[in-house]
């Protein structure tokens, strides 16, 4: 046992199983898209997701009719689930871009088979993130006032506010991610088009593939633009999540007013994004029987990224505790103490265990390759990061400068409905991506296959 626990994956371990050929790869992945009937697990998963999506619709209707009083947000804790979950969702989405863009730039071979999963995940998570602040607006129908557009009122948005930066960031991020995804999937859609048997699918994927032929010029243009896009997306995603951190850092509330917030948020994105990608990769690998394409190599690599994320997060936690201790601000000290030992103590400590202590198991190579353990650790991290986002959003407001102004946040059923509903939206979109778009980047895995071929 001790031997296997510490046995590192050999350096010559294949990224993709040696018996995968160009032919089998294209046909297997495309057949998942083209099959007439979806597999049962897909139907069950999609059904549950769709039911949760209906929860979101009902929640939205109730919220828009009655206003945000249906939630637990109150004075003093005016930022509740919606804002915390906004950060949570955008962190999950950002993790997708980090895996996809950052590791494209480092030419990491494991990224080729997982990047489409990561990007589908991010495109499913980003709308959930975008929905949260809109739900949180008292008058959600007026969200378009954030656009700088010429209007009869003569009113313009305040460009100096981090909240407006955040809006610009999220909007740009979603648009750029969509183009990045499409630039990458274009050749794969052509593969699906050429394999489609029925007329309707030939037409559908024919249109989606935009007439891609795979000519030399097309490939060269695609590779050049994709590489530059990756180089743009990597700093972009860091800036997006940092600006989310500035929403907090720009506030004067004790516990928020801290220069470490932008990188701290980014660290959270690395760990939680990788965790959700690992969970979805396990699902895809099992559901679509892609064991030969998504190998131990991928899980080993992603687990290492998650471990690094956990260590970076740990560093941020230490600094978060050290700052108030070293400083002289009584409010900061009090808030920090209350967070650790007060009302939110159970959340605080269980979250530290889930996101920092348990992930240390990933030092063991065996754990990095065990899908069950990875699934559990990743699930724990995602729950832990949710607790973390929730805690620092509410705990700071609960213990503001004036003790007479203290209070607690208690979520209502509608708060939980918003959480469940956005999870439903996320899963529904992801299941649709699974069904209708090739979930493995065929063009890039083909290159891996060619490189691995014995010369």
């Amino acid at each position: 046992m001790a031997m296997t626990l510490t046995n590192e994956l050999p350096p010559e371990a294949p990224v993709v199983a040696p018996d995968v050929t160009l032919t089998s790869l294209s046909e297997e992945v495309s057949n998942r898209v083209l099959m007439e009937r979806a597999p049962r697990w897909w139907g069950v998963g999609f059904g549950i997701s769709f039911a949760l999506l209906m929860v979101l619709i009902i929640q939205l209707a109730w919220l828009f009719i009655n206003g945000i009083g249906v939630w637990g947000v109150e004075i003093p804790v005016a930022w509740g689930f919606a804002i915390a979950e906004y950060v949570w969702w955008i962190a999950l989405a950002s993790g997708g871009t980090i895996v996809s863009a950052l590791f494209f730039l480092t030419r990491s071979p494991w990224r080729s088979a997982t990047n489409r999963i990561a990007e589908s995940m991010l495109l499913s998570a980003a709308p959930c993130a975008g929905l949260m602040p809109i739900m949180h607006l008292g008058r959600p129908g007026l969200f378009y006032w954030l656009f700088p557009y010429s209007n009869v009122m003569g009113v313009w948005p305040q460009m100096r506010s981090p909240l407006l930066w955040d809006f610009v960031c999220l909007l740009c991020y979603i648009l750029m991610s969509t183009m990045y995804y499409y630039a990458g999937i274009l050749p794969d859609l052509a593969t699906v088009r050429d394999l489609a048997k029925t007329r309707s699918k030939q037409i559908l994927y024919g249109i989606l593939a935009l007439g891609w032929r795979g000519s030399v010029a097309e490939w060269r243009n695609q590779r050049v633009v994709y590489a530059i896009m990756s180089a743009i997306m990597a700093p972009m995603v860091i800036s997006v999540h940092s600006v989310v951190g500035l929403d907090y850092a720009g506030g004067l509330t004790p516990g928020w007013h801290d220069t470490q917030f932008p990188p701290y948020f980014f660290f959270g994105a690395v760990i939680s994004g990788t965790a959700v990608i690992i969970m979805l990769t396990i699902l895809v690998r099992w559901g679509y029987s892609l064991q030969k394409v998504l190998t131990e190599y991928h899980f080993n690599a992603m687990a290492k990224v998650m471990l690094v994320g956990s260590l970076m997060l740990c560093y941020a936690y230490v600094w978060e505790a050290f700052g108030p201790l070293y400083g002289s601000d009584v409010a900061d000290k009090t808030e920090s103490y209350q967070r650790m030992f007060g009302f939110t103590a159970p959340l605080f400590w269980s979250e530290k265990i889930l996101t920092v202590v348990v992930p240390q198991l990933l030092w063991f190579p065996l754990v990095r390759r065990s899908q069950l353990l990875l699934f559990l650790i990743s699930g724990g991290i995602i729950v832990g990061m949710w607790q973390e986002r929730f805690m620092f959003t509410t705990a700071s407001l609960e213990h503001n400068y004036m003790p007479s102004y203290w209070g607690h946040f208690y979520p209502t059923l509608w708060d939980w409905a918003a959480l469940a509903g956005t999870i439903g939206l996320f899963l529904t979109m992801f299941f649709l991506f699974l069904r209708f778009a090739p979930i493995i980047s065929l063009a890039e895995v083909r290159e891996i296959i060619e490189q691995e071929k014995p010369k």
């Binding site: 305040q158 960031c169 740009c172 394999l195 032929r213 795979g214 530059i228 060619e450």
Partner: protein, 177 residues
């Protein structure tokens, strides 16, 4: 009988298609194109595929214009059209405008790249004569295809057939469209 668009040869490996393309170029053919399931290293140096620097420059131009537009909107809004004194800060408070300028710069650059990539490749183009070839279907999967087009001044069906056979083509087909 439809017009002859060209003759295609299907190869099994990237090495074969690269050496075939090299041979065609050396033999003086110009109007030929290779279709491959992934970007084969070195093919773009053999097959004429247009200017290399165009798309990066386009993306750079997009970035510069995007940044200028974003800054100008913010400056015009905050300093000219709707000046609002916030804590005595200057109306043209560039550090606060930097974030949106940065994001919009990147958005403009990526958009320029995306649109430019499609335009430079002549996409979207839902029909192309090469789609008429039965053997072409596998070029998006596991085969490497070369097509010599009938517009080539040296085009001669018989000698091309012979050349392709000599190069070890798996399959040779005339494309009519």
């Amino acid at each position: 009988m439809k017009d002859l668009f060209g003759i295609i040869a299907v190869f099994r490996t990237p090495d074969e298609v690269t050496s075939a393309a090299m041979r065609l170029r050396q033999s003086g053919y110009r109007a030929f194109e290779a279709y491959t399931p992934y970007a084969v290293e070195g093919l773009d140096r053999i097959v004429d595929s247009g200017s290399k620097a165009f798309l990066p420059l386009l993306m750079f131009a997009g970035a510069v214009l995007g940044a200028a537009l974003a800054y100008w909107i913010q400056y015009w809004d905050e300093a000219v059209n709707y000046p609002l004194n916030v804590g005595g800060r200057p109306y043209n408070s560039w550090p606060a405008f930097a974030v949106s300028t940065f994001e919009f710069m990147l958005l403009a650059s990526v958009t320029a790249g995306f649109v430019g990539m499609l335009a430079a490749s002549g996409l979207p183009k839902l029909y192309h004569p090469i789609f008429e070839a039965h053997a072409f279907e596998r070029a998006s999967r596991d085969r490497f295809v070369i097509c010599i087009e009938a517009t080539d001044p040296r085009f001669n069906a018989d000698s091309i057939h012979a050349l392709f056979e000599q190069l070890g083509a798996e399959r040779i087909e005339e494309v009519r469209a």
